[in-house]
């Protein structure tokens, strides 16, 4: 960092090896943020191809596109990839890139820890995928992990899961988890100690607030997963008995430990989506966010309550009436702060001069789709209903509405919104609209339909089904929606390539936005700001642009 001012005076080197060296050795939060997001997108394509293979297999009954063994590996790797290698790095990447810029700092609190975290994440992901080659192990069995993304015991124990595939699942996730943990430490420390003059906690952009809360959730919820995975590893390698029912161990304990992580994880992935929406919706509605402090409070509430709802994933296990009632009630209570947020975003849009550019389109779709996800979530929290549809495609449809309809749509919105800042180029609006409509229509064709075969009783994770169950048309439509989604993503890829080659220059502030990242150049210089900014309200750029009517008069 000390050598940065020299970079402007030196002649520009264009050797490829120098560029590579820059990226591999960088400790700059912006480059690391882009590396996180870019690797997340690569894994997104891989995980998407795995899903596509499954949908081809399930498009018609009695299909033999893939074998049962391959199918098991596909859904395990798809789930593991999408959660740990797509969601986690992308949210960490945006946090990395934007938090210092939004609070007027020059880097994260611990730049080298940041670089270490990224490379741990990447090599953890590569370790997981190396299982396809290396996991044959001692018993000659297995390839990639095939025990599902939550690896229930005793299936994941040594007796039923031979070879080393499950060990790759454990180690890949543990190693890549260090990226999330160090990112979380960094984001909190940065936001708490490195804010510029005048940036009090009450003036921090909601994005920063929400990422701080998410980071706390990561630090509380992710180490338990690591601990449980270490226990499983001890069972598998040292003959320990944590989850070994033969020796008095309890397989259900694994479920408790896993979901103690697994449920908060859903919010760890979703709250960053809320964070993007909370920045994008006000800018494109030309209004300040409705209920800033309520948004912060609701996020904190979600953070706390989401730590005490995990066993709603286990209603079918037979926990007993008392626990079922507790977890059902706690789950429904999460709906209250989440619903408050939906109303706040709608109130922000209400009466605004809404500009439906691509980021706003994605955020609007998010609002509608996340509402559906929330409603099916409340249905699933009702224990008797859950018993009817547990482990069916209804559940699969529900959480894909959360993670695609909610998270992926806001991520696409965030990419269209901040790509101009990161690259200095605009993403093409027309291509973006093609991307949006194809993807959102395809998503709904696939996953709205999927509620149908779920209610008709189709279990998840079966590799094929007989023709006489009435599921054929539903599955065919579900699979056809994938074609539209892929077409949408291809438009996205083309838009990115086109923008990087010949995109229209973005300028510092293409959206007429209000937070500090838009006050510096696009892309920002290595040191972010020439002078440390001074902030007097929640919308520092509004104050700059409207000196006659600044926000700080009213806040």
């Amino acid at each position: 960092m000390a050598s940065i001012p020299l970079a402007d005076t030196e002649p520009r080197r264009r050797f490829r090896s120098d560029v590579l060296h820059d990226w591999v050795t960088t400790v700059d939060h912006k480059k690391l943020g882009i590396l996180y997001i870019a690797s997340g997108i690569v894994f997104f394509v891989i995980g998407g191809l795995e899903a596509t293979a499954m949908r081809i297999q399930l498009a018609v009954p009695e299909n033999d596109f893939v074998s049962p063994e391959v199918f098991n590996r596909l859904f395990t790797m798809h789930g593991t990839t999408m959660v740990f290698l797509v969601g986690m790095p992308i949210i960490t990447g945006f946090g990395n890139y934007l938090i210092p810029l939004m609070i007027g700092a020059r880097d994260m609190a611990f730049p080298r820890l940041n670089a270490w975290g990224f490379w741990m994440f990447l090599f953890g992901g590569l370790l997981l995928y190396f299982s396809y080659l290396g996991s044959t192990g001692l018993y000659g069995a297995g390839s990639a992990p095939d025990v599902g993304w939550f690896a229930y015991t005793p299936l994941a124990g040594k007796a039923f899961s031979r070879g080393n595939a499950t060990d790759y699942w454990i180690l890949g996730i543990v190693v890549s988890g260090f990226g999330s943990l160090s990112g979380a430490v960094n984001m909190i420390a940065t936001a708490l100690t490195m804010r510029c003059e005048g940036m009090s906690l009450g003036r921090m952009p909601l994005f920063v607030w929400m990422m701080v809360i998410v980071s706390f959730m990561i630090l509380v919820a992710l180490p338990p997963l690591t601990a449980a995975q270490v226990m499983l590893l001890f069972d598998r390698f040292l003959g320990a008995h944590f989850f070994d029912t033969q020796a008095g161990g309890d397989a259900v304990l694994w479920q408790h430990f896993f979901w103690f992580f697994g449920h908060p994880e859903v919010y760890i992935l979703m709250i960053p989506g809320f964070a993007y929406a909370s920045e994008i919706i006000p800018v494109f509605s030309r209004k300040v966010i409705f209920g800033y402090s309520v948004m912060v409070g609701a996020t904190v509430a979600i953070g706390f309550v989401s730590l005490s709802v995990w066993a709603h994933h286990m209603f079918a296990v037979g926990m007993g009436r008392g626990l079922n009632i507790w977890f059902a009630t706690a789950t429904m209570i999460v709906g209250i702060p989440t619903g408050m947020k939906l109303f706040n975003w709608l109130a922000t849009m209400y009466g605004g001069r809404i500009r439906f550019r691509v980021p706003m389109l994605f955020c609007t779709a998010f609002l509608a789709q996340f509402l559906v996800a929330g409603l099916t979530g409340i249905m699933l929290a009702a224990v008797p209903f859950d018993w009817q549809v547990t482990d069916s495609y209804f559940v699969v449809a529900h959480f894909h509405f959360v993670l695609i309809g909610g998270l992926v749509c806001t991520i696409f919105g965030a990419i269209y919104y901040w790509f101009p800042k990161m690259s200095g180029r605009m993403l093409d609006e027309r291509l973006g609209r093609w991307h949006f409509w194809l993807f959102v229509i395809g998503f709904n064709v696939t996953f709205l339909t999927m509620h149908g075969q779920g209610l008709l009783g189709m279990p998840r994770r079966i590799y094929t089904y007989p023709a006489d169950r009435g599921w054929e048309i539903w599955n065919l439509v579900t699979s056809l929606g994938v074609v539209l989604q892929i077409a949408g993503v291809l438009f996205f890829v083309y838009a990115v390539i086109k923008a990087l080659r010949s995109g229209e220059p973005a300028g510092d502030d293409p959206w007429d936005a209000w937070t500090l990242e838009w006050s510096t150049s696009s892309p920002p210089p290595d040191y972010n700001f020439d002078e440390a900014p001074v902030v007097r309200s929640r919308r520092p750029l509004w104050d700059l642009k409207h000196p006659d009517d600044p926000d700080w008069k009213y806040e």
Binding site: E197, A227, G248
Partner: protein, 194 residues
């Protein structure tokens, strides 16, 4: 490290090093909590012996060593802040010795359990949960001990000066945390569990 650019106008009470260390401790707490829950959950569920009441003895020496090392490390930090080099080095090495004493006591205990009592991690649920929980704690003591020894060696070589006191202080926070975990382990394993 470069000086933080923060602070003007809304100086925070915490430095980033302090915040980072506290967050590390938060994550570690959450990690240990699962092993402690696992231990509590499996108390009395072993299908065969040896059982805790038959083989465990109160680790008095180890506990005295570890708890008093929290005092000596504070002495070391205070001395460094006051620029008293002799007292600083004495405090650090006393801490290393006491921590080493704890590990030695643990090693002797494990030797007895393994050789005399035949308790392995694979023997029963007690062995599984005991060696995991106590072992992870001992591993954390080892890491802290190596870091403290490093500070001590650098101190002897004259590299540790008054301006490094805040960083040595952060190391002492970690050491206190390891101590607190031991109090929890002691309570769960040697008091509640027998």
């Amino acid at each position: 490290m470069t000086a933080p650019i923060d602070g003007q106008g809304n100086a925070t009470a915490w430095s980033r090093g302090e915040v980072g260390t506290l967050l590390l401790i938060l994550a570690e707490t959450s990690f240990f909590a699962i092993f402690i829950v696992g231990y509590l959950f499996y108390i009395g569920k072993s299908l065969s012996g040896p059982y805790p009441a038959d083989v465990l003895e109160l680790p008095v020496v180890a506990t005295i060593c570890l708890l008093s090392s929290s005092v000596t490390v504070v002495v070391a930090v205070r001395a460094l802040e006051a620029d008293r080099r002799g007292a600083f080095l004495a405090g650090i090495f006393a801490t290393v010795l006491l921590g080493g004493g704890f590990l030695a006591a643990t090693a002797l205990e494990w030797r007895k359990l393994i050789v005399d009592d035949g308790l392995m991690i694979s023997t029963n649920l007690f062995g599984t949960t005991f060696y995991s929980l106590v072992g992870f704690h001992a591993a954390h003591v080892t890491v802290g001990l190596l870091l403290l020894a490093l500070v001590g060696v650098l101190g002897v070589l004259g590299f540790v000066r008054k301006e490094h006191a805040t960083r040595v202080d952060l190391l002492s926070w970690y050491w206190h945390f390891v101590d607190v975990v031991w109090i929890a382990v002691f309570t769960v394993v040697y008091v509640v569990g027998v």
